[in-house]
């Protein structure tokens, strides 16, 4: 018999004392237990204390809205409007907190689950739905919001992000001290993805070139059916140690802590101090995607336990207690969420299927005879059906 997983659930799954937390699950603002007198901790506290009421209310609103859209998308999938949906349920704080810490000029490299981050970058949720509906492979302009297309091959985007950050260095927009110019890059990936060669190569390149990178790992405890300890036997944030840059674990369900830790890391990157790995310790409350059945591999009690750490309830408690928001505010956010969801639903249902002939577009930027010939053939072939002339002249040319 083999001793095939020394990392036990307990070891790799508890947040542990090394986890930065600024808001308890009960919504109490605390000093994190991590070396409370360290300069890092002081910096996190400082960043958090600079958040205005408006900021905090904005965070709350963002989280509620993206959760609502997420639920709507799940419904839309059930009703056949989407082919599949990857829910972010439970990861709202990790995404909104980190997304809001980015500046306009920063660049974001998401996985397929970063709907919350997309929201903070101003990407219309309907655009995302197009991908899951099967109307596109993404198809948005990454440069419109400095938000790269969703990447499905896990880990690949971490190298793209690193290369982009190397470009930022070459542009001289790191460490100038000009807050409107200095640029950082943030790459999202999952706990599962951490095992991929590409991710580790991105660590190598980023550290060797001291690239302005933030690696943001959402450890949602699961990679489909595989628990986190199948990818690592020590806490994931410690991976960075092996590559010579700082790693930090943050409570991924604490939007304030996530914001603070991410902002500090982005600031470091922009200042030319190189990469940071952030492990946002969170939980995938739902299925991996709408096609997944988590009852096959995890127990309900685990989900229940994490419900107590809900990121939205936590901030809501804090806002209420501190008198930073009242029932009216919460009601208005709910109303906004409903409106947004209705808009998303409608836009999704009305989203036209692409004209099939467009599948030949943008394979290349420059003209390509093979594509042109196939497009022509296809157009004529399709037309032959429209005419009812199944064996028309179009069929002369072969499909090539």
């Amino acid at each position: 018999m083999t001793d095939s997983a020394v990392g036990t659930r307990a070891e790799t799954r508890r947040g542990g004392p090394e986890m930065v937390q600024l808001l308890t699950p009960e919504g109490e603002r605390v000093k994190s237990p991590v070396s409370p007198d360290s300069p890092e901790q002081a910096e996190y506290d400082q960043i958090a204390s600079e958040l205005s009421t408006e900021d905090l209310r904005g965070m709350y609103r963002d989280m509620v809205l993206v959760r609502r859209v997420d639920a709507e998308a799940t419904n839309l999938q059930r009703q056949g409007e989407l082919g599949i949906w990857a829910s972010l349920l439970g990861q709202e704080a990790a995404q909104i907190g980190s997304g809001r810490a980015t500046r306009e000029q920063d660049y974001v490299f998401p996985t397929y689950r970063e709907h919350g981050v997309a929201w903070t970058r101003g990407v219309d949720p309907v655009t995302l739905l197009g991908l899951f509906r099967g109307a596109s492979h993404g198809g948005w302009d990454p440069n419109a919001h400095n938000f790269q297309l969703y990447t499905i091959v896990i880990g690949s985007q971490t190298l793209h992000a690193t290369g982009y950050a190397m470009g930022v260095q070459r542009d001289g927009t790191v460490g100038t001290g000009d807050p409107a110019r200095d640029t950082a890059v943030i790459a999202y990936f999952g706990d599962g993805a951490s095992a991929q060669g590409d991710v580790n190569e991105a660590f190598v390149y980023s550290s060797v070139f001291n690239a302005p990178m933030v690696f943001f790992c959402q450890n949602n405890q699961w990679a489909i059916s595989e628990p986190n300890e199948r990818q690592t036997r020590i806490p994931l944030y410690q991976r960075a140690r092996g590559f010579g840059f700082p790693g930090v674990r943050v409570d991924g369900n604490d939007v304030i802590a996530v914001y603070a830790v991410t902002k500090a890391a982005l600031d470091r990157a922009r200042a030319g101090e190189g990469p940071t790995l952030i492990e946002a310790f969170t939980y995938r409350m739902g299925a991996h995607t709408t096609t997944d059945d988590p009852t096959r591999y995890r127990i309900a009690a685990e989900v229940e336990e994490w419900k107590l750490k809900d990121p939205i309830a936590r901030l809501k408690a804090y806002l209420s207690r501190g008198g930073l928001a009242d029932a009216e505010f919460f009601a208005s956010v709910d109303a906004d969420a409903d409106d947004l969801a209705a808009h998303v639903r409608k836009a999704c249902q009305e989203m036209p299927d692409p004209d099939p002939v467009t599948m030949f577009d943008h394979v290349y930027t420059e003209p390509h005879p093979q594509i042109d010939a196939e497009r022509r053939w296809f157009a004529e072939y399709s037309e032959s059906f429209a005419d009812g002339a199944e064996e028309g002249a179009a069929a002369q040319e072969v499909a090539r």
Binding site: I224, M359, F385
Partner: protein
């Protein structure tokens, strides 16, 4: 004759089970193959019955899956690796073409590489990018690999066992969109033939249609439709893609004088190009028309809302048949 009613998915599952029972060195490995039974449930129940040592949920790293399988094979194991979807095999490409395929050659035969790589492949399931590809031709150019594809439950059950029994590496392409189609009675006693043999699945006179995997069903439907118009198609399920069973194919072409090759993968440098080139060399004087190819276009696999227009279907096959007959 013992038979069991099985879908393709259940057929492969039963075949894996049979192989694991027969040979303790068989280990199944891949992402989510354990408790979940794989995203397609092809390994369903195996971990429960054979334990975590023989059904291994691997870390999420495909190069690691194949690389460690090579090591296991060196130690005498017979790993059966699952790649979750066609589009995720590429991180393992180096380990497959530079290591797995070449190890026996490098070692002058002193080591064997009985590794099977199972790849659910092909489109038509309404999936997002990378979940509908047909990468078989990327491997068929590689000496040292063997490549097969099953199209029905009986082949699923038997071919996977034959692949596992092989001392050479075998890539095993499974048409995912056929996994859960109608179950059929599978003969559990007798394999339907050797692994590297093509099969005439419908006899005909006018045009030969060669296909494999998901396209076998489509081609058979096309043949049925053609028959109504008086055109008699001979449909060949290639089953083996590397090496190809040329004898069966050539016998058919010598009879019909015409050949249409169908696959989902892009036409350019797809299996069809090799088949066309070779058949034209071998049957030059017998061919009444050039070998025609029906396949994916020279675009990436498109968004699923238009995939039906991308994928070869009954009409596209019949169109090619008609073009062939027009020569």
């Amino acid at each position: 004759m013992t038979t069991q009613k099985l879908s393709l998915a259940k057929g492969i599952n039963a075949g894996l089970r049979a192989a694991m029972e027969a040979e303790p060195k068989v280990v199944v490995m891949g992402e989510d193959v354990g408790k979940l039974g794989g995203v397609f449930r092809i390994t369903d129940g195996l971990q429960k019955d054979f334990g975590e040592d023989r059904v291994i949920d691997t870390p999420l790293a495909e190069s690691g899956i194949i690389g460690t399988a090579i090591g296991l094979a060196l130690r005498g194991y017979r790993p059966v690796c699952e790649i979750q979807f066609d589009g995720f095999i590429f991180p393992a490409y180096d380990q497959i073409v530079s290591q797995l395929a070449k190890m026996t050659y490098r070692a002058k035969g002193s080591v064997k590489m009985p590794v099977v790589i199972r790849v659910p492949f092909g489109g038509g399931i309404g999936a997002v990018e990378h979940h509908s590809e047909s990468p078989e031709a990327y491997f068929a150019h590689t000496p040292g690999l063997r490549i097969v594809s099953c199209s029905n439950p009986t082949d699923g059950y038997w071919m996977i066992q034959q692949a596992i029994a092989s001392d050479d590496p075998v890539m095993f392409f499974e048409p995912k969109r056929r996994y859960h189609e109608k179950a059929v009675e599978v003969d559990l006693d007798t394999p339907p033939g050797p692994l590297y043999s093509a099969r005439v699945v419908r006899e005909g006179e006018h045009v030969t249609v060669a296909c494999y995997g998901p396209m076998v069903k489509t081609a058979l439907e096309a043949a049925a439709a053609a028959a109504e118009e008086g055109k008699s198609l001979e449909v060949i399920d290639l089953r083996a893609l590397s090496p190809i069973d040329w004898a069966t194919l050539e016998a058919s072409v010598l009879k019909t004088g015409r050949l249409v090759v169908v696959h989902e993968a892009p036409v350019v440098l797809g299996l069809g190009s090799e088949i066309s080139a070779r058949i034209t060399e071998d049957c030059f004087y017998a061919l009444e028309a050039p070998v025609l190819r029906v396949g994916g276009f020279s675009t990436p696999y498109p968004a699923s809302r238009v995939e039906e227009e991308y994928l070869p279907d009954l009409d596209r096959i019949l169109d090619a048949v008609d073009r062939s007959l027009a020569y």
